[in-house]
Symmetry: C2
Subunit: 359 residues, 2 copies
Amino acid sequence: MTRKTNFGAGPATLPAEVLQQLSAAMLSYGHTGLPLPELEHRGAPFAAILEECNALLRELCDIDNDYEVLWLHGGGRQQFCMVPQNFLTPHTTAAYIDSGYWAREAMQYAAYYGQSVTVASSADTAYDRLPEWPATLPLNTAYLHLTTNNTIYGTQWHTLPAATAPLVADMSSDILSRHHNYRQYALFYAAAQKNLGLPGVAVAVIHCDMLARANRNVPPLLSYAAQAREKSVVNTANVMGVYASLLMLRWTKERGIDAIEAENAQKAELLYNHLASSKLFQTRVAVAAHRSLMNVCFSATDTRHEKALLQLCEEHNMTGIKGHRSTGGFRVSLYNAVRLPDVQRLVTLMQQYEDSVQE
Amino acid sequence: MTRKTNFGAGPATLPAEVLQQLSAAMLSYGHTGLPLPELEHRGAPFAAILEECNALLRELCDIDNDYEVLWLHGGGRQQFCMVPQNFLTPHTTAAYIDSGYWAREAMQYAAYYGQSVTVASSADTAYDRLPEWPATLPLNTAYLHLTTNNTIYGTQWHTLPAATAPLVADMSSDILSRHHNYRQYALFYAAAQKNLGLPGVAVAVIHCDMLARANRNVPPLLSYAAQAREKSVVNTANVMGVYASLLMLRWTKERGIDAIEAENAQKAELLYNHLASSKLFQTRVAVAAHRSLMNVCFSATDTRHEKALLQLCEEHNMTGIKGHRSTGGFRVSLYNAVRLPDVQRLVTLMQQYEDSVQE
């Protein structure tokens, strides 16, 4: 079976060399005499995996030991629960910036745990841009939550104004995709299945000042403080998943954030430039400065073209470009493991289709 | 590197053929043109995996469609949270049978969500037997929770008296290990990493009458009702982990519960018989009828023998027999994928050691 090029939003494509290493590790891991999935989660080989993960993530994000790095079960939604459960109190409010589907989900999850409010939203323009940064926040704001990249609507925060409350960022879809000031966050988290590995693992990175404010009355599994004390193994870890993250971190370091950032910009530019000149397809994002470099979302002027392009891509072994079920249209995800030649082939195919239609 | 025989309590050993299939799937899954980890969690190939998992689990547990089968993130502790969060109310009490470490943990987790009480315990004899079955329960009991097999203390409920409250069972370490009346439970759950696959996945099986009583005000990720509505994909599933469970279910069906039960009994008998005749090692469990067929826990009369046997086993490529950090001594886990010849080799080695010492 020919390997398809996967532009899917997640679970996202992984580098061939990472898959090869995972495949080999399923049978035997290093000198342990055991396959990777059988490694004892409190034993030395897995402790070494966790330590290297922590060191690489700190290095690649340029943060120090005043941030705790935690490797946890589940994905972004588990963090949607843990953030308010750990930081909301009966006397505080969680402030959320509503930049689209995931940002809104995060806010709605917080409402199960206490008071949460939307302090900025671009819902009134169907999320075709980022919201205005909030001018004020409630006085009792526990934290201000944002989603740095909006996979479904194709917008991304490229720079952030200052905030008066601790910033909490869901970076599931753009962590390690560029140089970024991670130090502006009290907490940032990411589901692993885009730039960091497999579904079933999330990383949460918390500044010690924030951690010191965490609620005490939280079950240990869901407590950032307990997970920090227990070095991410309050319970049996997702050994496979954490190791996949390690392989992705090594791969990221080997390429370097400089090169990754440059290639990500090139990939996005190629696609946005094509859309700008296209008569059949147009980007959904109204404000150019808000466009995502990770997920390029666009729609067809005619549903006929939508169906035709989707089919053409499948015929050419490209998959995952269908838009989210809530928006329709197209979504081309350009995570780190999607490479420039992949995008060049896609754009060439789109151009050929347009030429054939206009003839 | 020689493959070690792994008697570890979890992550537990997996059959070689399952590991081979997982290893191959990391590179390419069926006719999808994608590696397994890239399968879209809402796409047809993964839906087929989930459906086959559900059908096989129902068949092997001999339960009907009036039970929902859910494949969830995390392990047993996530269920320690979800059970009370979904079923405890301000007016009800959760009753827990304290048969050891995990049973107690489950009860302590419930206390974060409401009122939980211990209705039976064998703590006073250091868990060397199962507790007496509770004669009475609080009138407002929401459910009665038990741990069917106690990995750390080596005890197991082989039959259960009737209960006046809905029974909830943590079956993490003995699910599918024998013929069993699963229909007596309103809910049973298991972390996958023993008889069902990899860490990072748990299965929860809930009778529809119980599900109808679930609390409504629970975040969808942690709500059994929402997970049932969404067929286990409220969020991005642990695609790898669920597929590993499918492979384990197929492997279990191919062997058959009859054969598995018979071999599990043989394995345990071999080890318990050896311990009964041993002058150096003795079982920790006082009541023979309470002994676990899954985890045989024993201690040495002299710490000298403890160290020597641990070392001897490592020299002979057997690992994972060290007891839990809370008890010390030995714990030999005999999950389904540990085979009779493995146990025969271990017992032979123990006998050789005893002979050498007594000479």
